[in-house]
């Protein structure tokens, strides 16, 4: 059946997270194109991260975009949004959409998810009562709160209540707080998040949530919602215990109900509490109909978590492609951050197994509660609850069902650094990444069998940590341990002179406020000649840096604003490119690149460049970054060349530095028939703003004036693409050895927002990336990946944005043309001598031949055979 004739048509009903995963997995695995897939979404948009709905308040819809949007551009994938499916005809194998169109299918997947359940409380249909499930729900809630606030006198708060103290209820309470409304959570049970955590954890959680200014009432049943006398909007909650609460808005989050109406109408069996019944292959009674996610009733129940839904999606894809995968059972482990509070649980969190031992560590003052559930011999781990500090979760969860090492299991619960918990040796079958079902053994194998040597490599090889990222700390630990076993050095030390990584050293230098290499190596350098047990040696003896750490320190000092890169001791740290402010070539001469911002150059400028190249006999070539490179300049010629260029208005192009190179642009709306924004103008502005910025590696940018993307901006570290509303920004692209497409960071920004976003992105990269690490691998290593970067620079999750902004403002303000400064300083000019005893003599070893009308270095054979046309002394004109 494989590859024979036409491809099969797979229809997916529902456009949620699990549908997205299914399509993603299918397109990743179905190399032969056996299936084309059509997704029908009821909502008017592509799948989004429903778990992150609260983020929508701060940043709008783009912040919760899911996966690579390129998925929906795949020719084998069709997405119909706002297209509810009304019925299934199992006989004809067709579905009918809300427009009455009939679509045939070969295989059908139900991924319809759930709807928010509305409990039968009188008054639940009053204006001002909302559920919390979709972007539209959240948008309506926001509109209501804003309208209420406007109708109130300044300073009077909007009062909100959330009925339901589970996961969703706490999310909704966080959303109300984000809207500056008061929030009180009403929970019928004994404590918050009753499904995931036990009473002790719930109480700790309550204290932490209270600390965020959110009220909590537990063991409270709402008997009715009463309208306000005049407005008729919801105005008061009455409780069964006689209590009352005045409100302006109510969010009901008491649970969800599977959307199984299509399955019922099609005569498919549904579970006792709803949901389309499926077997362990996720197939319904009908061999061509499958169900995944919250609508699937598997092992007798529906599961309202995304990770098991993703697993089901993978199972179905495997089956469609002829595999025999089975649902391995739901991993209901949960880890989340609610309004800044860490909550995690796994396994038998409620200690419902018989004869278990519970080990609890609680610090009520700090609001921390941690519990392990163990077998009666206190050895085998059966479950855990973590509130306020989810630190141990990542390493303990995969140990579920395994014996814990060491004598005292409580050691695992002590605060970091205080414990001495024995290190965990995970069994090979322990499930480390629950989103993608990757075991510890698979991760180890990536290192031992597939030669991966770092976390990004292992991620690409196994998909571990590529979805939610919660397991990445554990993945890193496993990878490091395996590398260590294999004898591969994994030290983050820069070199023998510094034990720190570049990022650590950057922070250390910044905080200690140091401004010279001598001070930095004295303070933070290693003791290379101190033998263990020997008499104390003065720190710096034997440690004077090297060609690895010195340029790193030079870059750090430049980023922190320490004047000209050739000033004083700084000049000794520079690689020859930075030292000569030119690019060293293979024969020992240099190339010269004047800046042409945005690739724009006047005819007069071109004539000057041409004349200079001609007079000094330089080989000229257009670079990939839209400017002109002049090759073959000798050390002693550089100042003369630059004097001519500077006089004509040119400045250093920093082609020699680990710094901003160019901002490439297309011609944009000023000339182009299709351009929607002035891409050249923006490119010039960006290039002038960031010129001279020193960074861990070279930086390239691009600006395209419309979606045709003629500037190839998505191949750059920072790519900007014009839209009719503003600018989209993409980050982390590069060409070179490992080409990457940049990924979307934000959409439709104004010019001002764009500059602020790039300011922060670049400064965060400059401060935290490793030596010679370009933006793409850096983003992968940031906690949370691109989302993590977005949180830091757009939501200010680390509280450093003001600092990043100030640092960039300093850079912009203090910029000076490095070459102009050299020409004005005789002391610096003295460096540009060919020989200390013959400062203007050319290197006698240089030899050239002519090729295509220009000269190039002679090869060894050409030198030997005497075809050399010109030695260095054959000066044209200087």
């Amino acid at each position: 059946m494989v590859n024979s004739g036409e491809s099969q048509h797979l229809v997916v009903i529902g456009g949620g997270m699990v549908a997205q995963r299914l399509v993603e997995a299918l397109r990743a695995r179905d190399d032969a194109g056996r299936y084309r897939v059509t997704v029908f979404a009821e909502e008017p948009r592509a799948p989004y991260d429903r778990v992150g709905l609260t983020r929508w308040f701060q940043e709008g819809p783009d912040s919760i975009a899911l996966g690579d949007p390129a998925l929906w551009a795949d020719p084998l994938v069709t997405l119909h949004t706002d297209r509810k499916i009304e019925s299934i005809d199992r006989e004809a194998k067709t579905v009918t959409d809300r427009l009455g169109h009939v679509h045939a299918y070969d295989e059908l997947v139900l991924a319809t998810g759930s709807s928010a359940a509305m409990p039968p409380i009188p008054g639940n249909d009053l204006p001002g009562v909302f559920v919390y499930r979709t972007i539209d729900d959240v948008a309506a809630l926001r509109g209501w709160v804003e309208q209420k606030r406007k109708s109130y006198p300044e300073g009077k708060p909007v009062r909100g209540a959330v009925i339901g103290g589970g996961l969703l209820g706490l999310e909704a309470a966080g959303a109300l707080t984000a809207l500056d409304a008061q929030a009180t959570v009403i929970e019928f049970g004994t404590h918050l998040m009753g499904v995931q955590v036990d009473l002790g954890g719930g109480q700790a959680l309550k204290r932490l949530i209270n600390g965020k200014g959110i009220g909590v009432r537990t063991e409270t049943a709402t008997s009715q919602m009463k309208p306000h006398r005049r407005s008729g909007h919801v105005g008061r909650l009455d409780f069964a215990d006689g209590g009352r609460l005045d409100v302006d808005v109510v969010v009901v989050a008491t649970g969800v109900r599977p959307r199984d109406e299509l399955a019922r109408a099609a005569g498919l069996p549904v579970g006792e509490r709803g949901g389309a019944v499926v077997d362990l292959s996720c197939r319904t009674e009908d061999p061509h109909i499958w169900a995944v996610g919250e609508v699937a009733c598997i092992e007798g129940r529906c599961i309202g978590l995304v990770a098991p839904g993703n697993t089901m999606a993978e199972v179905v894809v495997d089956r469609l492609l002829g595999g025999l995968a089975e649902f391995p059972g739901a991993d209901t482990a949960t880890k989340l951050k609610l309004s800044g509070v860490d909550v995690a649980s796994f396994g038998d969190a409620h200690a419902r197994t018989e004869n278990v031992v519970e080990v609890v560590w609680a610090d009520p003052v700090a609001g921390v509660y941690k519990k392990l559930v163990l077998s009666d011999d206190a050895r085998t781990l059966l479950g855990g609850v973590f509130v306020g500090d989810a630190g141990p979760y990542a390493s303990l969860r995969p140990m579920l069902g395994a014996e814990l090492p060491g004598e005292d299991p409580s050691a695992f619960l002590l605060p970091e650094g205080g414990g001495g918990a024995p290190s965990l040796e995970l069994p090979d079958d322990a499930n480390v990444c629950s989103c993608n079902s990757v075991s510890a053994g698979t991760i180890r194998g990536a290192v031992t069998e597939h030669q991966c040597t770092d976390v990004p490599g292992v991620k690409a090889c196994t998909r571990a940590g590529t979805t939610c990222g919660a397991c990445l700390p554990l993945v890193k630990k496993l990878v490091d341990t395996e590398l260590e076993r294999a004898g591969i050095e994994i030290s983050t030390a820069l070199c023998e002179h510094f034990d720190m990584s570049r990022a650590q050293l950057f922070d250390a230098v910044r905080v200690a406020d140091l401004h010279s290499f001598s001070d930095i190596v004295g303070r933070f350098g290693r003791h290379p000649v101190a033998e263990p047990g020997s008499a104390p040696v003065e720190t710096r003896v034997g440690n004077r840096g090297c060609d690895i750490c010195k340029p790193v320190v030079a870059s750090i000092l430049a980023s922190l604003g320490n004047g000209h890169i050739l000033a004083g001791e700084q000049s000794t740290l520079q690689d020859t490119n930075d030292h000569m402010l030119a690019n060293l070539q293979k024969d020992g001469t240099y190339s010269v690149v004047p800046r042409m911002p945005g690739g724009e150059v006047t005819p007069e400028g071109l004539i000057v460049v041409g004349q200079v190249a001609k007079d000094f006999g330089l080989y000229t070539k257009i670079t990939g970054g839209q400017r002109i490179d002049m090759f073959g300049a000798r050390v002693e010629q550089l100042p003369d060349i630059w004097r001519r260029l500077v006089d004509a208005g040119f400045e250093s192009g920093h082609a020699y530095g680990k710094s901003l190179r160019t901002v490439k642009s297309c011609v944009g709306s000023t000339w182009c028939r299709y351009g929607v924004q002035d891409s050249v103008g923006m490119a010039v502005e960006l290039e002038l703003r960031y010129r001279g910025l020193r960074s861990p590696h070279k930086l390239k940018m691009g600006v395209s004036g419309c979606a045709r993307e003629c500037a190839e901006a998505r191949g750059k570290d920072v790519g900007v693409i014009a839209t009719d509303k503003g600018w989209n920004i993409y980050v982390g692209g590069n060409g070179g050895q490992t080409p990457r497409h940049a990924k979307l960071l934000a959409e439709d920004l104004t010019s001002e927002e764009l500059l602020r976003t790039i300011d922060r992105f670049l400064m965060y990269y400059v401060r935290t990336a490793d030596r010679l690490q370009r933006t793409a691998p850096w983003i992968e290593e940031v906690d949370g990946g691109l989302d993590g970067v977005r949180e830091v620079i757009m939501e200010d999750s680390l509280g450093i944005c003001a600092d990043l902004d100030a640092a960039m403002a300093r850079h912009v303000e203090n910029y000076e043309d490095e070459w102009k400064a050299v020409l004005e300083d005789p002391e610096k000019l003295r460096r540009f001598s060919s020989f200390v005893n013959a400062p203007k003599d050319a290197d006698p070893s240089l030899a050239y031949v002519e090729e295509r009308g220009q000269r190039r270095p002679a090869t060894a054979e050409e030198r030997a055979s005497g075809v050399v046309i010109a030695g260095p002394k054959l000066e044209v004109r200087a």
């Binding site: 000649v529 003896v541 034997g542 440690n543 004077r544 340029p551 740290l573 060919s834």
Partner: protein
Amino acid sequence: MSSLTEQATTETTVRWERACLITDLFPERGAAALFGDVQVALFRLPEDPAYAAHAGQVYAVQNLDPFSTAHVMSRGIVGTRAGEPTVAAPVYKQVFSLVTGKCLVTADKSPKEGLAPDLAVYPVEVRDGVVHVGLP
């Protein structure tokens, strides 16, 4: 201290050439000197305790980089490896001892055909603020 240097200075065939003033040399940054067709790279170490016995000394090695055949050793970064003063070739980053000329790090490359991986070293004397290099 270096036996090589001592040997060289005691050679009767050494021809002492005046190179420059000591103040012409930037500490920890090399400079090339030209004697006929011979190019020498000179390095002046600073009076820094990190260089221990080498502090304040001037060293001379061949300017020819045996791994690239360009005459660029004088443009390398100066530093230390396990306490030994070094210079790193600016083209392909091999590291050489300034004292013995020995190639300490080959960076997975071989020198160009016919060239030794180690650098020739030349004796140096500083007399009355003038740097002299002993050529064979």
